[in-house]
């Protein structure tokens, strides 16, 4: 039992943190957001050159040959930076096709997605991240939860409250099940949600750190507001929710490759924890920042908005709690 990143994975995390701190400051995120979610092309080029989009794609298809945990590590850091790139959709779609697609689907899509020459969209027809301009969409069907590969669809830009990412609604297009459909295609959805949950962990971690820095600095009544117990308790709660999301997101990423039979439950755990936890932690960040937290000028709202849209992409916590309840009931018998 070793429930922590390996040294190599920690190294990936460290490199990603440093790179994104240099290349994707909040000033850059703001530029992208205020430009109508025009992604930062220089940043995307750099991520492509580093091979990040293909992190969980096999080397034979031009990827790095690593797995879901390494993908989760990168996603946490991109969430932490709230970076404006099509990374989540492209890398998560590629990882799902790699793990669950047919040989033909892999050969057709993975080289272009792994290199970042093409991008993908993920989500549902009602809410698809990065659908506009994507070469392929991985859409989750309701209520079966099966993932479909959709091409040639009409993607209409959706002006979501999160301007750091592009969203779309989808109509039409040609669809085929991922892999042979059925359980494999459902597992693809679980993998994609595990990836989104990993991003949320980074979003929450950033919100927590920004809040701690602020409440240590901001003084009222002659003392830092972070010395007030009500503020401290809020921060402790933020830590609890962030770490709860982290425990389940790591479990889901690990299960995806190492224990696929546990993935359905692990993914539901991660989704439920992240969907509610991300929203709650980032809402607390706004509150703890006081008046400044409610201004467009402060950066916490990017995180809050990302957490809201990530929760929506996850399908909301409630359906995952329902799934967990039925899994638990089946076990009790």
């Amino acid at each position: 039992m070793h429930f922590d990143l390996t040294e190599d994975q920690k190294e990936i995390k460290r490199v990603a943190r440093e790179l994104l701190a240099a290349r994707s400051s909040f000033a850059r995120v703001r530029e992208a957001a205020e430009g109508g979610a025009q992604y930062d092309p220089a940043l995307w080029d750099e991520l492509r050159q580093l091979g990040w989009p293909g992190i969980a794609v096999a080397e034979e298809h031009g990827g790095q040959g690593l797995g879901a945990v390494e993908l989760a590590v990168l996603l946490e850091e991109l969430g932490y930076a709230c970076a404006a790139t099509p990374f989540l959709s492209t890398a998560a779609a590629a990882a799902a096709i790699q793990a669950c697609g047919s040989d033909a689907q892999r050969s057709r899509w993975l080289p272009a997605l792994a290199s970042g020459e093409a991008t993908a969209g993920i989500g549902t027809r009602a809410l698809c991240a990065d659908g506009v301009g994507a070469a392929v969409l991985v859409l989750l069907e309701r209520p079966s939860g099966e993932a479909m590969l959709v091409t040639g669809a009409d993607c209409a830009s959706l002006e979501a409250i999160d301007p750091t990412r592009r969203y779309a609604t989808v109509s039409g297009g040609d669809g085929e099940p991922l892999g042979t459909g059925g359980a494999g295609a459902v597992a693809a959805g679980d993998r994609i949600r595990a990836a989104i949950a990993a991003e949320v962990v980074g979003v929450a971690q950033r919100a927590l750190e920004m809040t701690l820095a602020y409440v240590k600095e901001r003084r009222q009544f002659g003392v830092p507001v972070g010395s007030f117990q009500a503020v401290q308790n809020r921060c402790a709660q933020m830590l609890l929710e962030t770490e709860s999301s982290r425990s389940t997101a790591l479990f889901a990423a690990w299960a995806a490759d190492a224990a696929p039979e546990r993935l359905p439950e692990a993914s539901a755990l991660a989704s439920a924890a992240a969907a509610d936890g991300g929203r709650s932690v980032t809402a607390s960040a706004i509150q703890a920042h006081g008046g400044i937290g409610f201004t467009w000028e402060a950066d916490v709202h990017w995180l809050y908005k990302r957490a809201q849209l990530d929760a929506a992409l996850l399908g909301g916590a409630r359906q995952h709690r329902a799934r967990l309840a039925s899994l638990a009931a089946a076990r009790v018998g």
């Binding site: 429930f3 922590d4 830092p224 830590l239 609890l240 709860s244 425990s247 299960a255 924890a273 709690r321």
Partner: protein
């Protein structure tokens, strides 16, 4: 990252499982608290005979030198088998390790084996009426007389005092020390003497797990000072640091079993299709799993870095919150039958209120998280 047990851990678990199957704890005697305790004492003797009473102790003292993960496995398996905690749990988890850390060779020789075999039960004399979370405020005094110390004061929340031969007692030996956590000394107090009066404390469940301890001229020889005069705060911290690590896994499995039972009873009433009930049960399942996963992350952190990470401070708080939520949901789902005197759910509901107080209140845990983990400034 590997969330499976390694070969040693699997071997440990399988050997333990086989032993527990061959040596079932049996059904607890009903009603009588003394008989129930006798059953747990007998259980510990059997564990000791099988070499399982103190797996986390080093082999030289009769343990198995188990790793933290193996120790977690031990408590998980114990709970999973429906077996009780060994009777001398405070001796095994608190007194023993503290004596191993601070005791002289003579003290280790004298005390450790009877702890293991449950021949001598231990209790913990830390909390006082005016020193709960603020332990260093304790007032019980020890005054030197010849080669003895004379103890006067009051302790409270002393579980198992009525069965205990020994008490881990912290008392003030220097009233003039500049800071209140200085001037404390840790004693090994013989409970079987005049000057020690035990008064059961009736709790909201109607049971008496705990006692008040009145000390009026109780005597402790010099040889029973642990860790040196004036060093009591440090020795007490050793005890307290041990307190939170072992039991967590036992309690977590017990909570899981309680949730499974609630799911089963909800199913019998056809309530699993009620979306509100399913939502709440799903949330509890999530919380139980978060607790389990986070507890394992904590073990890895301690095994890797020698100290818990930020997640380590959270599990007690998560557990108490979840257990309270779970038992409250049982009352919602099952109605008056869960609120009837003598009903197991009624007991669980009431007992759970203690969870967020015993072993550190949730409020103080949040303060500790804020100050020590998050580095926020203190204002007290």
């Amino acid at each position: 990252m590997d969330l499976t047990f390694n070969a040693d851990e699997v071997a440990f678990r399988d050997e333990l499982r086989a032993w527990l199957e061959a040596n079932p704890a049996g059904t607890p005697p009903h009603g009588d608290e003394d008989a129930h305790y006798g059953w747990r004492r007998d259980w510990q003797r059997r564990l000791a005979d099988g070499g399982w009473a103190a797996v986390h102790w080093p082999a030289e003292h009769g343990g198995r030198g188990a790793t933290l993960t193996q120790s977690a496995i031990f408590y998980e398996q114990l709970a999973a088998a429906g077996a009780p905690l060994p009777a001398n749990v405070l001796g095994l988890l608190l007194a023993g390790p503290t004596i191993m850390t601070w005791g002289t060779p003579e003290q280790q020789e004298r005390y450790l084996v009877p702890i293991l075999t449950a021949e001598e039960i231990w209790c913990q004399g830390f909390s006082e009426p005016d020193a709960g979370s603020d332990l260093a405020a304790l007032k019980t005094r020890a005054v030197k007389q010849g080669d003895e110390w004379v103890i006067t004061g009051q302790k409270v929340w002393t579980s198992m005092a009525q069965y205990a031969k020994w008490c881990m007692l912290v008392a003030r030996t220097d009233a003039d020390a500049p800071k209140k956590h200085q001037g404390l000394t840790y004693f090994l107090l013989d409970m079987e003497q005049d000057g020690v009066e035990i008064v059961p404390l009736k709790q909201i469940t109607g049971e008496s797990e705990f006692n008040e301890l009145f000390l009026d001229g109780a005597r402790v020889p010099d040889a029973n000072v642990l860790g040196g005069v004036g060093n009591g705060w440090k020795v007490a911290l050793t005890t307290l640091m041990n307190e939170r690590s072992g039991l967590a896994f036992f309690l977590q499995v017990r909570m899981r079993q309680l949730l499974d039972q609630l799911i089963s009873e909800a199913g019998e009433r056809g309530l699993l299709d009620d979306p509100v009930v399913a939502d709440k049960l799903g949330e509890l399942h999530l919380r139980c799993e978060v607790l389990r996963l986070t507890a394992y992350r904590g073990l890895t952190a301690i095994e890797t870095y020698g100290q818990p990470g930020p997640e380590g401070s959270l599990t007690k708080w998560m557990w108490s919150d979840t257990n309270q939520q779970l038992t409250q949901l049982a009352a919602d789902i099952l109605g008056p039958e869960a609120l009837t005197n003598g009903a197991p759910w009624a007991f669980e509901l009431l007992r759970a209120r203690g969870n967020s107080i015993e072993g550190g209140t949730t409020e103080v845990l949040k303060n500790i998280v804020a100050e020590r983990v998050l580095g926020l400034p203190r204002l007290r």
